[in-house]
């Protein structure tokens, strides 16, 4: 048998009811590179996490080398020769790289002496064509470096199967070419490589076979040599999807009469959590009536930019100007009073307070804004009325306003949070990854809310989902390594934008 791992009828349901894997079956062969292709949220990552023992399916089974395989943890997968490199590899911040490598080896049941390990690593570094500073602390590694270390670990373990989740997001086209060669070489040694991507051309240029996922299902498996890009795209997005994204039907001519600038960011420099400079001289402008997108691969300074704009992080240089007023030195409360609405990327714990009721979660955000819910003592009847109005803005049935916010689904929480912010009639809306973790249906509704709000306000959306930005933005700034690498106006050319993101 040529099959290394067989996935049979795997079904994964996340809390909240989202079906991430809908009876997926797939064979992974020895000595092949298999591309798992699909758009964001298609269920690719979930599937490889099932194989890595990190997600428990509600149904289905895995068969490894003809034997039933039920990984109860990542450790189990490691010991069976399966290595997964996540899109955002997680390391222990305080350990050194060498310690982290030794830890992984130990988990896999390998004990190796330090000197021999260092020699082996030096060999592999030559093979892979990069160097890693073994004594540096993990927190100081960039995401790209972390991925390289992960690759190194997989080879040190002599893994039989390697699963890579969107490994190319941090690579230049040149790096991608040599990486391709490396993966082919691994497959040539008889290993299986699963390459998760949402980029069609990558899938075709690396893989022997391409499995396309959409909405939690495998919708087709193709020999790479026998299928065209167009067909793959059709399978990825369904019959109409592709066109919706890249050349929107509802395309409108650029608005020539531009509104007043509401937000101006001028030569902003911001430090990140570890003292590194994360935002390096970013300038941008957002006018009333437009949706401005900030694209970029996660971790290129977007979060720091977001925090500086809403006042959570003090810039070391530069200015944030709101409606002509310099608010750089002002706290979030002041900016909120001036009409800034904030939609942070994490709903629970950043946008909403878990454990508090729906009414409380709406009322607190009004504290700095107005006194309609009371000066010192809260008028809870009034607060309730406001909550009812907010809930009425979205098409969601909230049965009990006194129930804790945790009783709502993720999608409803997100819509409620956005409605709460829009209720304040803001002049500027700053949103970060507003549809992260939502199913496609809810994402569409949320995007509608964001776009709709641009009639009365200026909207800035920072998102890692490029397709989303292409759909809703009037203008896109691309950030890479803390710098604006390009500003794009409609109609967008996705290729140029992607190149700016990785370059």
């Amino acid at each position: 048998m040529n099959t290394f791992l067989s996935i049979r009828d795997v079904r994964v349901v996340y809390p909240g009811g989202v079906i991430a894997n809908d009876d997926v079956s797939l064979d992974i062969r020895r000595g092949e590179v298999l591309a798992l292709l699909g758009e964001n949220g298609a269920g690719k990552t979930t599937l490889i996490r099932v194989v890595a023992g990190l997600v428990k399916p509600v149904k289905g089974e895995l068969v490894l080398d003809g034997v039933r395989f039920k990984p109860s943890s990542y450790r189990d997968a490691l010991r069976n020769g399966i290595y997964m490199v996540p899109q955002m590899p997680q390391f222990f911040d305080g350990l050194t790289v060498l310690e982290d490598i030794m830890l992984t080896l130990r988990l896999a049941g390998r004990s190796i002496n330090r000197g021999r390990l260092e020699a082996r690593i030096a060999d592999l570094e030559g093979l892979l064509g990069f160097k890693v500073n073994l004594s540096s602390h993990c927190w100081s590694l960039s995401i790209g470096e972390k991925q390289r270390v992960e690759l190194l670990k997989a080879l040190l373990l002599d893994s039989k199967m390697l699963m890579l989740d969107e490994p190319t997001t941090h690579m230049t086209p040149h790096e991608f070419n040599s990486f391709k060669g490396l993966l082919r070489g691994l497959a040539g040694e008889g290993r299986s490589v699963v390459f998760v991507t949402h980029k069609v051309y990558e899938a075709l240029s690396v893989a022997d076979r391409v499995a396309v996922m959409r909405k939690g299902r495998i919708v087709g498996v193709f020999q790479a040599g026998e299928v065209s890009e167009d067909i793959l795209v059709k399978y990825m997005f369904g019959e109409n999807g592709y066109h919706r994204v890249f050349t929107p039907k509802n395309y409108k001519e650029p608005v020539h009469v531009k509104g007043e600038p509401v937000l101006e960011v001028l030569d902003l420099w911001v430090k990140g959590p570890y003292g590194q400079i994360a935002v390096k001289g970013v300038s941008m402008i957002v006018r009333k009536g437009e949706v401005v997108g900030v694209a970029g691969i996660t971790g290129n300074g977007q979060r720091e930019l977001f925090e500086a704009i809403i006042g959570l992080r003090k810039p070391i240089k530069g200015r944030v100007v709101l409606n002509g007023e310099d608010v750089t030195g002002r706290d979030p409360a002041y900016r909120i009073r001036k009409g800034v609405a904030v939609i942070p990327e994490e709903r629970v714990g950043w946008g909403l307070a878990s454990g508090l009721t729906v009414v409380e979660n709406i009322a607190f955000s009004l504290i700095p804004v107005n006194s309609s819910i009371g000066r010192f003592i809260v008028d809870w009847r009034k607060a309730r009325e406001v909550a009812e109005e907010v809930v009425a803005m979205i098409d969601v049935k909230v049965h009990d306003l006194s129930a804790t916010i945790d009783s709502l689904s993720g999608g409803n929480m997100q819509r409620l949070m956005i409605a709460r912010e829009l209720y304040k009639r803001p002049i500027l809306i700053v949103a970060m990854n507003p549809t992260g973790g939502l199913d496609l249906q809810t994402s569409k509704i949320v995007r509608g809310m964001v776009v709709g709000s641009s009639k009365a306000s200026a909207v800035l959306v920072i998102s890692e989902d490029l397709e989303e930005l292409l759909e809703i933005s009037d203008r896109i700034y691309v950030m890479s390594d803390g710098v604006v690498k390009g500003v794009f106006e409609k109609p967008f050319n996705a290729d140029y934008i992607i190149r700016a993101m990785v370059g």
């Binding site: 997680q90 911040d93 305080g94 982290d100 130990r106 004990s111």
Partner: protein, 283 residues
């Protein structure tokens, strides 16, 4: 000579703080904090006196004291690690309950037992253990795979669980060791420092000083031992400072506690300047 004398007396005095602090280092390195040190010390002080009275052996008293610490730490393991109750609440409860239970046991008639005399083999053994323990712990934490695992758990519990590290087991082990060292520390206070006597309030906040010295020493075994020793110097120089320098005794008594407060603020400022020194996340 006077200085040397004071330094060695200070060391003998600071042994319980050093031992308790070293146990707590392991606990906090594995990402938990056990605020029950004060109570574990008091409880084991009382138990050690009672057992040494009953058996006539200070050695058995000392061992029983260590076991008493382990018993209280098991309460922590079961409730915090097992039932996931709040670690702060449980730790403080252990402290308060330990102090009360200690008084209770001594009320049954065990106030004076057999002591461990200064200079005895047992005492010398304890001194040697206290001297060699910091470097040994440093070796374990930084040079063995088990130590790396322990620290990894302390840095990021979530990642550790995802990778399949036995987080709860590791923590149960460190908490138990912490109980043992706190227990021996308490027994040492009663059997050595107070000549085999127990009285209410015997620990006088030294358990808290131990926890303070963990932060002071920046979670590094050797640093923590030095910090605990420094606090011991402050505690022992009280008669010197009052008689020689004429400082009011109250002022001198409160110095170690004030010192811990100042140190807590300094440590934060230092770690702000040097982000590369990442402490574990116990609190």
């Amino acid at each position: 000579m006077v200085v040397v004398d004071y330094m060695s007396i200070a060391f003998i005095t600071s042994i319980p703080i050093i031992l308790a602090a070293l146990g707590e280092v392991l606990v906090e390195r594995s990402g938990r904090v056990n605020l029950g040190v004060e109570g574990m010390m008091a409880f084991s002080a009382s138990i050690s006196v009672a057992v040494s009275t009953l058996t006539g052996s200070p050695l058995i008293g000392l061992i029983a004291g260590g076991m008493a610490g382990v018993i209280l730490s098991t309460v922590y393991t079961l409730t915090v690690i097992g039932l996931k109750l709040d670690q702060i609440v449980v730790g403080l409860i252990i402290s308060l309950a330990g102090l009360g239970l200690a008084d209770l046991i001594s009320s049954a008639g065990y106030r004076v037992g057999y002591n461990i005399p200064h200079g005895s083999t047992l005492h010398n053994t304890l001194i040697v253990i206290t001297i060699v323990l910091p470097p040994i712990l440093w070796l374990i934490l930084y040079r063995t795979p088990q130590g790396v695992e322990l620290r990894a758990v302390g840095y990021d519990e979530h990642v550790a669980r995802e990778r399949g590290l036995r987080v709860d087991l590791i923590r149960a082990v460190t908490v138990t060791i912490g109980g043992l060292t706190a227990g021996i520390a308490g027994a040492y206070m009663a059997l050595v420092l107070y000549n085999g006597r127990y009285f209410s309030g015997i620990t006088g906040g030294w358990g808290w000083l131990a926890i303070g010295s963990v932060i002071l020493g920046y979670w590094h075994p050797i640093g923590v031992a030095v910090a605990a020793y420094t606090i011991g110097i402050l505690l022992t120089t009280k008669p010197l400072l009052t008689s020689e320098l004429g400082l009011p005794p109250t002022l001198v008594t409160i110095t170690p506690y004030i010192a811990v407060i100042i140190a807590l603020t300094l440590v934060t400022i230092i770690s702000r300047r040097k982000p590369s020194l990442i402490p574990p996340k116990p609190l």
